[in-house]
Symmetry: C2
Subunit: 240 residues, 2 copies
């Protein structure tokens, strides 16, 4: 059975304006690789309802899972819950269990519930809450869309709670090999090796180091024996 597929949708003007550098995409990519869910696409859109609705519909229709990051706080620019509900064509309202989680948190902190904070208890009909051990305001899963916070520490905690709920696949095994030659020299032999191993994926990632060109060649596949065999042949082609 092929592995489940996934996309991540990062929501926030601050990423596109260059003000903030996103880290949630890279974190999620590593976590999904570990559990055998294939991340196929990542998108970043701004805080515009039509952009979020369009992206959620496109991605949820073509992937087994969509993970979103950002836009679920209490301020006027937090519109992700509204947009996801619209994309999934379900109503959105304050839900008692979400409100209770928030109320308990604010009671402990001695802070008043207000209209802005109550916005964070709004979830689409039929959603399952995602626990937020950091600041209480929950994320939620609706259909195959998993809606989480943008603050990295909260996003990471939500992913940790969510992933065990999802069915993973076979994690890809990978080995990498550093070759201090230009890719133009590596390309021919590597292409022939890749032809011999159609069950494996071979990628070449060039870099520059101290004025010299090199490449990291990464061989990936579900079968560790095959990966190791191909890597051994690669090392023979390009001895250190």
């Amino acid at each position: 059975m092929p592995n489940p597929t996934a996309a991540i949708l990062v929501i926030g003007d601050e990423i596109l304006s260059g003000r903030t550098r996103d880290s949630n995409m890279h974190f999620l990519a590593q976590e999904l690789a570990r559990v055998g869910i294939d991340l196929r696409e990542a998108r970043v859109v701004g805080d515009r309802p039509e952009a979020i609705v369009g992206a959620v519909r496109a991605l949820s229709g073509t992937h087994d899972h969509v993970f979103t990051s950002g836009g679920i706080g209490p301020t006027h620019d937090d519109i992700t819950a509204d947009a996801v509900a619209e994309a999934m064509r379900v109503p959105l309202s304050v839900r008692d269990d979400a409100r209770a989680v928030l109320q308990a948190h604010y009671d402990r902190q001695g802070v008043e519930m207000n209209e802005a904070r109550l916005r964070m208890a709004r979830v689409p009909e039929g959603a399952v809450l995602i626990d937020n051990p950091v600041s209480a305001a929950p994320g939620f899963s609706i259909g195959n869309v998993h809606v989480m916070a943008g603050v990295p520490r909260i996003f990471e905690a939500m992913v940790a709670g969510l992933l065990p709920r999802l069915t993973g696949g076979t994690p890809l095994l990978s080995q990498s090999y550093r070759i201090m030659r230009g890719e133009g020299e590596i390309a021919g032999p590597l292409a022939r090796l890749a032809d011999d191993y159609p069950d494996l994926s071979m990628g070449s990632y060039p870099f520059q180091s101290g004025g010299a060109f090199g490449a990291n060649v990464v061989i990936r596949g579900p079968d560790g024996v095959r990966v190791h065999e191909a890597m051994t042949r690669l090392a023979e082609l390009f001895p250190e």
Copy 2:
């Protein structure tokens, strides 16, 4: 006149597998903000022809400019030039000017031109070359799609050469203000302030620092006087 819009398409399995953390998106976001081109969307897709073709067509049809990063080297997994030519429905072949640039570079280095290296001289019909001062192999612009290398140092050099060719707009001015209160407290007054300034965009970016919650509020707009006026009112609402 509204600012030109743009999207960036980052191409490469290594980003989606979590092996490499992309930096080109963030670099380009900052450069475009400087010249007044509005980055509206970013996407990352893997080294699969149909994914690249689909994304290039979707993004080039809905934005004034599309910038791509990655997949233009000499190895078998470098398929961006082929996919972009297909997306734009033009033929792809080795072009004399691109070949001459490469040949001169390899002559200086005392390296042979080979089949793999010659792949990097293939450009779509009608393309304009983008200079690569680092390793010679050029990028290219075809229609509104600008195809560049994935290695950050080369991508950055290509962007530096390309941007002066494009017509920019009015750079957005922004000021930010750090408020050491939870967003739940900031949200109400901030929403009312945002209502008073429909020409400005106000974003609230929460963070956690030493166990306390705070938010950076960013006010952006083309008119510096308005931005300053709104920021002064914000500072009065939330004195330090």
